[in-house]
């Protein structure tokens, strides 16, 4: 047995305990084992005290539930432990660098949370009379003004509930404009670069369009030759969906020409605004000739990602598309703000409604709070620091890793897996970073780069934090270059080892089911 400096035994090698755990309890130090609520709760337990019903005659008319839900309840202390223990198995921005490219995992300011919980916003109903909620309409109007000014666009639809919903909004507006021109049945083709987010082609299809993929050139931008060739026949062109800065972290240098050509072809320009963080306050997309762009409030404007949502995707529109914006929208009159909800009058050309009520109010409050905090000057600094941080990471990492393209990047740095030895894949590098205490970068996206690793540090990382992160990535990359076999087993120190996704998909178990009653063991 080897001894440490205190003369005590050094950490023993981990011995699995049969249950996949290194201890009898299944816990280890601060990391507590936590079973499913169905295994720890009972159907009689409840953590909510409610007055007893009076037992009066019901008015259900016989339409009553037949079988109980059998859902377990937990008392409050049990529930708190359950969720706090589970939370400790999650990585989060508040723990460290979360360098997911294209996701903009920046700090979530807590003032935003506090403001969204003011009863004046959290405790108002979407169908209250409008004179009772003028402050809410005013806030939405103020946020709309910020969004229009920052993008240089004349109109914005506020109701889309996430980025992909905003894409849907923009593409439905384009479809409606084509209907108004009498060309909806002929103009069906939407050009989408190969590097696009998966939501772009999925959205185009969901709106009844067809997708025609454009190649990327060796500089990671739209291949203009291919683009022009796609426009040889313009009769069926509906438009283009282009992310800018694009998913390679690069500004589309030919964007103005792309806009001109698509307009000349009779189509519209949808810009995916997922990467707006790189240019906010420095470039207005409206000056680039776009017709529509969604803005992910949960990326650029710091509303929390919440483990997968909720988001919010207000969509700015050009003069050409503004008349077709969805209901509801807000107009300012002499006696205050008014919601336009019906497809008549101001909204007679609208393509319709996308969802119930008026959009993600809770996210609107957070985003406006963030904008007011930063101001126009601070938002410009946001973009500059985000781009500076990404370029700093790129320069440091390219000592070992292979940059996908030459030159400066915007807000994210893209690498291919070329530097890795044979047999070591991007996923091995990603999982080894987990052992270093970091969330991995975006892997295998964009599809145009082999074994892509896309790193977006955002502006809310300090230089010291970035330096520590880079040292870890460099160390892992060196191991990958050397072909170190142990990478294939990573992570070793996370709450879980690598999970078997194939098994999960082959025979999906999508909910808990009670265990089969155990046969009584024969004596």
């Amino acid at each position: 047995m080897s001894m440490n400096t205190q003369g005590r035994p050094t950490t023993p090698a981990i011995v699995a305990n049969g249950n996949g755990s290194a201890s009898v309890s299944g816990s280890r130090g601060l990391l507590q084992r936590e079973d499913l609520i169905f295994e720890i709760g009972t159907t009689e337990t409840t953590g909510v005290d409610l007055p007893a019903p009076k037992g009066r005659a019901d008015r259900l008319g016989g339409v009553a539930r037949k079988a109980a839900t059998d859902l377990p309840g937990l008392s409050e202390p049990e529930a708190m432990r359950h969720y706090v223990r589970l939370s400790q198995k999650n990585y989060a921005i508040d723990l460290g660098v979360f360098p997911l490219g294209s996701c903009t995992m920046k700090h979530n300011a807590r003032l935003n949370e506090k403001m969204a919980r003011l009863p004046g916003f959290a405790d108002i109903h979407p169908l209250q009379p409008q004179y009772e909620i003028q402050g809410a309409l005013e806030l939405i109007d103020q946020l709309a003004i910020w969004l229009k000014m920052l993008t240089g666009m004349p109109a914005v639809a506020m109701s889309p509930k996430a980025g992909a919903h905003g894409e849907l909004c923009g593409m439905l507006a384009i479809r409606q404009a084509l209907i108004a021109r009498g060309e909806a049945n002929t103009r069906k083709r939407v050009l989408v670069p190969a590097s696009a987010h998966g939501t772009n082609p999925a959205t185009a299809i969901q709106c009844g369009f067809q997708v025609d993929e454009i190649k990327a050139n060796e500089r990671g931008r739209v291949d203009m030759e291919d683009f022009r060739a796609k426009l040889e026949d313009t009769s069926d062109i509906a438009g283009i969906m282009l992310t800018n800065p694009n998913t390679c972290g690069l500004f589309e240098t030919d964007i103005c020409e792309i806009a001109d050509l698509i307009h000349e072809a009779g189509g519209y320009f949808y810009c995916d605004g997922a990467n707006f963080n790189a240019i906010v306050g420095r470039v207005r997309p409206g000056d680039l000739g776009i017709d529509a762009m969604h803005i992910n409030l949960h990326k650029t404007f710091s509303t929390p990602h919440g483990g997968g949502g909720p988001g919010s995707g207000p969509t700015v529109l050009s003069d050409a598309l503004a008349p077709y914006a969805p209901v509801p929208f807000i107009v300012k009159g002499e006696d205050g703000f008014r919601l336009v909800e019906d497809l008549k009058g101001d909204a007679s050309e609208s393509f319709g409604r996308m969802c119930a009520f008026h959009g993600q109010m809770g996210m609107f409050v957070r985003a406006l709070t963030y904008m007011l905090s930063h101001g126009a000057d601070g938002l410009k600094q946001v973009a500059e620091d985000a781009v500076l941080n990404a370029n700093y990471v790129q320069v440091r990492l390219k000592e070992v890793m292979t940059p996908a393209f030459d030159g400066y990047c915007m807000h994210e740095a893209l690498f291919s897996d070329e530097f890795a030895a044979e047999g070591i894949e991007t996923i091995d590098i990603a999982k080894a970073l987990i052992d270093e205490g970091y969330h991995p970068m975006t892997m295998y996206f964009p599809l145009v780069v082999h074994g892509a690793m896309l790193i977006e540090p955002t502006e809310t990382e300090s230089k010291a934090e970035l330096d520590r992160f880079c040292e870890s990535v460099i160390a892992v990359a060196n191991r990958a270059a050397a072909g170190e076999e142990s990478l294939k087993g990573a992570p070793y120190h996370a709450p879980m080892r690598r999970l078997d996704e194939t098994q999960a998909a082959r025979k999906p178990r999508l909910k808990w089911t009670p265990p089969e009653p155990k046969a009584i063991a024969a004596e």
Partner: protein
Amino acid sequence: MRYLPLTHDDRKVMLARIGAASVDDFYTDVPEAARLDGPIHDLPSHQGELAVERHIGELAAKNRTASEGPFFVGCGAYKHHVPASVDHIIQRSEFLTTYTPYQPEIAQGTLQTLFEFQTQVAALTAMDVANASMYDGSTACAEAALMACRATRRKKVILSGGLHPHYAAATRTLCEAQGIEIVQLPAAVDSELELAKSVDGETACVIGQSPNVFGTITDMSSVAEAAHARKALFVSVFTEAVSLGLAMPPGEMGADIAVGEGQSIGNPLTFGGPYVGLFACTQKLVRQMPGRLCGETQDADGKRGFVLTLSTREQHIRRDKATSNICTNAGLCALAFTAHMTLLGDAGLTRLARLNHETACDLADALEAIDGVELLTPRFFNEFAFRTKMNAEAVLAMLDEKGVVGGVRASRLIPGAGFDDVIICAATECVTADDIEAYADALKEIV
């Protein structure tokens, strides 16, 4: 600027390391005409917390909150009490500031809660499987229609006269873009069963709602049977999730797809969003589902764990062949739902549902006793419609003057259909006996 850690010196050192003279070097790909030289004009500069709090606080103060006095507004969003611990749980940094759990080894917290959420939603709706959430009930309804068209390879969708008009509109918008025919039955308080007569051999699905927008609850088993007889699907919608603790759930009526709004459990009103769309279906249809699914598996040591699964349905893998374009969903609202549901358990949910129903019954008794008030909803959970001899908008305005927010005028949701004198009102556990008395007293004076 309090959210930006880089110092001036850091920036200088970093630029030097990169070999750039200034950040302007990074923006040289931007066409010159589109480069801004300074901060955008006419927008304010940065402000401290105190100043921002004042600004936002002033806007908040202009709104009349649901807790300020008697409040009876429903129609798709409901004022319920949310336990204090729920908001604490969803503000845990590890839940609030994390991403979609694409790296399952360091996202078991999110994944296990999603697995529990899916199990709870399946049990609540009495369906086989549920997904990890949609944006809200209305978009879930639209996606259900598309899913039914995929599954049946048909292009006709029939909507009941009691389906929430916003749900109907959202469904119409999405379906028409794909050339799917929408048949909308005329709005009526108690007509969900009419769907059974409308279904034909071309129909992909019929969509009915219980409780419907007028509060009417209906056993739609006959609709399911009629749909199945013609190889169509039955989509069952609800906007009040608490109702499922007492009223018949979609699965007990033979629904193929159940969709609804989960806001009532765990989530505040927040003027309409963010909410959480619930989406459940039969086992047979699982591979046609939109959205994320969490499934059970094992790690390399044989330990039970959870991952996102069946992602070959989704846009990030399948792109133009995906079942939906949805990416971000309602993760944190789903966490609020599952935490509240876990605190309730079956015992708590049943009691909460009964309490809602009894409160609404008390309200109905009190209003029905007034001369000139006609209750329209024959069977209800916590919401019903009534008619007076006056214009509903005028009645609500007069109620408001007496401090009572009396409900929604039906004509706001269904304009031009003869509902000008109809008010839809809801009573949850938050409504007190005094609130009911105040409502009845005020209404008596008005009508």
